[in-house]
């Protein structure tokens, strides 16, 4: 803050006293607003970072589990084909008694194979557990139910709203700090000019700007 302005106000007149008090108040206001701005700014930044990370988490969840789910559905569908083919084969061969023995044997083989293939499809399509040797994060992503992704999306939206709120608070604190800077300049002018009509104008203006700054800073807390 303006050390010279304080030094300049060496005296007992009300003008110098008010000047000294306002200089001190401006210093205090600046520190308060700087703290408010730093806090709001950091909270905004953190919220934006979290929103970005959660976006990536949503992509990771949908992409990875989507691929695994597609594979699971695909192999389960494929596993019923031999049985269906066998049934169709039997039906078709009923019209040709010469082939019925062969076709029946093939159909029986296909029916027996389907049971085993279905079991293999279930095993291969199941999301891997922690006993697979996979790291905890991969297991968690692949086993995460799709419903939880909507919760992640909600949290991401909440972080974006938080960023917006603290961003507004930070902007108001910055503007209030600008007003303090203007008040400091006016106080400096008041100190240089001294006790005169012009000096009083500068002093009163500085006081008014400081009050405005305090009000604007307080409004930031209401956000």
């Amino acid at each position: 803050m303006d050390v010279e302005a304080v030094q300049a106000s060496a005296g007992r007149t009300p003008y110098e006293r008010v000047l000294a008090a306002l200089v001190g108040a401006a210093a205090l206001m600046a520190a308060l607003l700087a703290t408010l701005e730093m806090h709001a700014g950091k909270r905004e930044e953190r919220a934006l970072v979290m929103a970005s990370r959660l976006s990536t988490a949503i992509f990771e969840g949908t992409a990875a589990s989507g691929v695994a789910s597609t594979f699971q559905l695909s192999v389960l569908k494929q596993s019923i084909e031999p049985g269906l083919a066998g049934a169709a084969r039997l039906e078709a061969s009923l019209d040709d008694p010469e082939l019925i023995d062969v076709e029946f044997a093939i159909a029986m083989a296909q029916a027996a194979a389907q049971e085993r293939i279905f079991a293999v499809a279930q095993a291969m399509g199941a999301p891997p557990g922690s006993d697979s040797g996979l790291d905890a994060h991969t297991v968690e992503v692949l086993n995460r139910p799709l419903e939880t992704l909507s919760e992640v999306s909600e949290e991401q939206n909440r972080q974006v709203d938080l960023a917006e709120r603290f961003g507004e608070r930070s902007n108001r604190a910055v503007f209030a700090l600008s007003l303090v800077a203007i008040a400091a300049v006016l106080l400096g002018v008041a100190g240089v000019i001294g006790r005169s009509p012009a000096g009083r104008v500068a002093l009163v203006s500085a006081g008014a700007v400081l009050v405005l700054s305090a009000g604007w800073g307080a409004s930031a807390l209401a956000v």
Binding site: Q7, H39, R53, T56, Q78, Q110, V120
Partner: protein, 227 residues
């Protein structure tokens, strides 16, 4: 008396206690500047760590998605076809044992078709060629294969974005506290200014000012040491 009704500005330090005010104000300015600069550096470090956390999150996600895509879309799909063909071949041969003549020959041909299909589809996929991935049911252990693929790049698996995130959160807390430590220093400045404007109460005001200055400096030290 100066011109235009203005009061002359006395020389610096010309009043009793004036040096004390000057020292307090100057010291407050220096301490505030130091605390502010330190908080700024720490704040910058916090920002850097947060951005690092975002990069780590993206890197980890991309690596995971690509490994899952490779194993499930490329290898596991082919491995299932191999398992299906091998099981069908086994069952055809089992049924052929109970038959003779043309019927037996027909089933053996079906089995050989499935075996040829398995050999062609399996190709060079490691999940198929490496016997350690075989399961007792005739399938393949996709989870173990994915673990092996992931383990090929342990640095990517070990990525933990929460580490830089936690470091950034701690640094941000220190930065806010650091700026907050300028509050008692600003109070010291206020008392210094009041001491200049109210010379009758200069001594107690200066004492309070120096006390707050010490408090601000101590707060700055404690934040560095503890936070």
């Amino acid at each position: 008396m100066g011109q235009g009704g203005t009061e002359p500005i006395p020389a610096a330090g010309s009043e009793p206690g004036g040096h004390g005010v000057a020292v307090l104000l100057a010291a407050a300015a220096v301490v505030a500047a130091f605390l502010g600069a330190r908080a700024s550096l720490v704040s910058s470090a916090a920002s850097g760590d947060w951005q690092h956390a975002v990069r780590q999150e993206t890197k980890r996600a991309a690596a995971l998605v690509e490994d899952v895509r490779f194993v499930y879309s490329d290898e596991a799909s082919a491995a299932f076809l191999v398992a299906e063909s091998e099981i069908l071949a086994e069952e055809y041969r089992r049924q052929a044992e109970a038959l003779s003549g043309t019927a037996r020959a027909a089933l053996v041909i079906e089995a050989r078709v499935q075996e040829a299909l398995a050999a062609a589809v399996g190709g060079n996929f490691e999940i198929v060629t490496d016997p350690s991935y075989r399961t007792a049911e005739g399938g393949f252990d996709v989870g173990a294969r994915l673990a092996a693929v992931r383990a090929a790049y342990p640095d990517l698996v070990a990525i933990d974005p929460d580490e830089p995130m936690d470091a950034a959160d701690a640094a941000a807390r220190r930065a806010v506290l650091g700026v907050g430590a300028t509050l008692p220093v600003a109070a010291a400045f206020l008392f210094g200014a009041l001491a200049q404007g109210f010379p009758g109460r200069r001594r107690p005001l200066l004492s309070a000012g120096f006390a707050f200055l010490a408090l601000g400096a101590l707060a700055g030290v404690l934040i560095e040491a503890v936070a």
